[in-house]
Structures are given as C-alpha cells and as structure tokens.
Amino acid sequence: MPDWIAHLGFAFLLAYALKIKRKEPVVIGALVPDIVRVFEFLPVFGNSTFFAALPFHGLLLPLFISGIICAFFIEGISYKKGLALMYLGVLTHLFLDGLMLYTIAGVRALIPFSFLRFGALNIVPSEDFSLAILAVIIIAVVVIYELLKRKQSKGAEQIKSD
C-alpha cells in the first residue's frame, strides 16, 4: 500500500476537486481498507488470518464496514449520503493500491467470490514514499488555503454585521 497519508491526501483532494462540502466521510473512507492493520500483529489463526485480511481490500467488505461506521460512529449527515461519501473514499484507496507493484496482498476486488489479484495497474513500487511527500505538500497547501478563505469570509461577515 502507499503510505496511509497518501491515501488520505488523495481522497481529500478528490473531495476538494469534486466540491464535496462534507469531506470528512471521504477521508475516513480512504482509511477503511487498512483498518485490518490494527489486527496485523495477531496471527492467531495461522494462514487463515491472511485470507481473513484479504477481503478488506475488496469491493464488498469495505462497503459493509463503511455501513457500520456510518451507523454507529458518524452523525450530522444522512446515512445514505454518509455511506456514499465513505465508499468514494474506499474506491480511492483501492485505486491507489491497484497502482502498486511489489506487493503480496494487493487488491482482490471480487473477494469472497474470487481470490484473484487485480494487478493491471502495477506501476508504482509498493511503499514508495515519494507519493506520501507529494500528498503532504499538496494537503498542506490546500488546508492552509481553505483555512485562510474561511477566516477571510468570517471577517467579511463580521464587518457586514458591524
């Protein structure tokens, strides 16, 4: 996988480009397929752990994981909209992981119906941190720009009300 910050940055920028007002579900969705990393150090079931972890990088399981997160951990947005935005984030993650070369797990889109790896896009070396550097720089620029714009519009509103 690319660095998780690259996933975050790509999802954030896509949401920004698509002019999505609520970007939070998109960026959180971009981390959903890697949620399994929390349990990475628990190889309690031997080889089965590897296969249990694979569907997190499929199309189906992240949809239901997003459904769980939207239901229990997110408020302030309708369920359908929240789920759609989170799944958009998931798709950005799978797209970036599909670019990866030299990785063993990869994207297995049709799990549990097929365990075949989708590797058509193998172009970027796995864990290449140049993507992460690029993502951090672009996020920093966009966030600073957004915050400055927000501050400016707040200032203008205050002057109007005065």
Binding site: N47, A71, F73, I104, F129
Partner: protein, 159 residues
C-alpha cells in the same frame, strides 16, 4: 407495506454480513485459486515441493551477506539462504522485495532483488507531519464527541 429501517438496524445488518464475508474468506481462502506468484510466504515455506521451480515473490529482511549468497528472514521469522544474481544490492538489515525460485534437486534457492524499500524513519516522519495537518483540518470543520465516540460531520460549522 413499507418497512422503514433505522440507522442502527442498517449498522447491525452490515456487521452480520461483514462477519460472514471475513469468515467465509478465512475458510475458503486456503482452498481457493489465487493468483501466483503473489502467495502468502508462510504457505510457500511450508510446502516447498509444491512450488519447486516456480518463481515466487517475497518481502524479506537481509540477515547476512556472504559473496553472492545471502541469508534472509521472511515475515514469519524463517531464515533462508539464497544465491543472488545481484548481491551488490543486498545490505544487512535492509528490507527487500525478492523473486526467488526453489531448486528441488539441489535443495537450494536462487533469486534476484527486485526492489529495496526506502528508509522507514523518514516515511514515518512524513506521515506524522501529514497527521498533524489532517488533525488541524478536522478540528476546524468537524466535532468529535469523545463521550459518545462519535464524529459529528460539519459540527463546528453548524455550531
């Protein structure tokens, strides 16, 4: 009659389906046809005969370099010796992506380093900077209710 399902009901349905997918993958996976050479290393090293003569990709850290022969440890901590085509790329302690082939008649491994992973410390440093920027952004637009463990989307803007 229209059945209206609540947010939590949807969540519980999703949870049940998610558990079913994880369990079915864990049970069906070892018997499924998955794409080679991207196979779990633990299987490769426990069924050497099955993969004899086939090229397999693995991630490993190099434990010892001796001429064109290296010793590496895979993720499972198993130590293997292999003859490399490009030993000059090997560095003790380095994490590499290798392509190796098991020769059954000679009971030995031969292979090639395909990729050297970059410095982990630098990557983590970059990630931390990114995390700080992201937290600043989230704290400006959303609200996190720690007591109920909920993220309130657009909470700060609505307040």
């Amino acid at each position: 009659m229209e059945i209206i399902l609540g947010r939590k009901t949807f969540g519980i349905i999703c949870l049940i389906i998610a558990i079913a997918i994880i369990l079915s993958s864990a049970l069906l996976g070892p018997n499924a046809q998955y794409s080679r050479p991207y196979i779990p290393e633990s299987i490769y090293f426990s069924n050497l005969d099955e993969y004899a003569g086939k090229e397999v990709y693995i991630t490993a850290s190099i434990a010892q370099v001796n001429g064109n022969s290296i010793a590496f440890e895979n993720h499972g901590g198993k130590r293997i010796d292999a003859k490399l085509q490009n030993p000059e790329e090997a560095k003790i302690g380095g994490l590499v992506f290798l392509s190796i082939t098991y020769d059954k008649s000679a009971d030995s491994f031969s292979g090639k380093i395909l990729y050297k992973y970059e410095d982990k410390a630098l990557r983590e440093f970059i990630s931390i900077i990114g995390l700080v920027i992201f937290i600043i952004y989230l704290s400006r637009v959303a609200k996190f209710d720690l007591r109920r463990l909920k993220l309130i989307v657009g909470g700060k803007e609505n307040a």
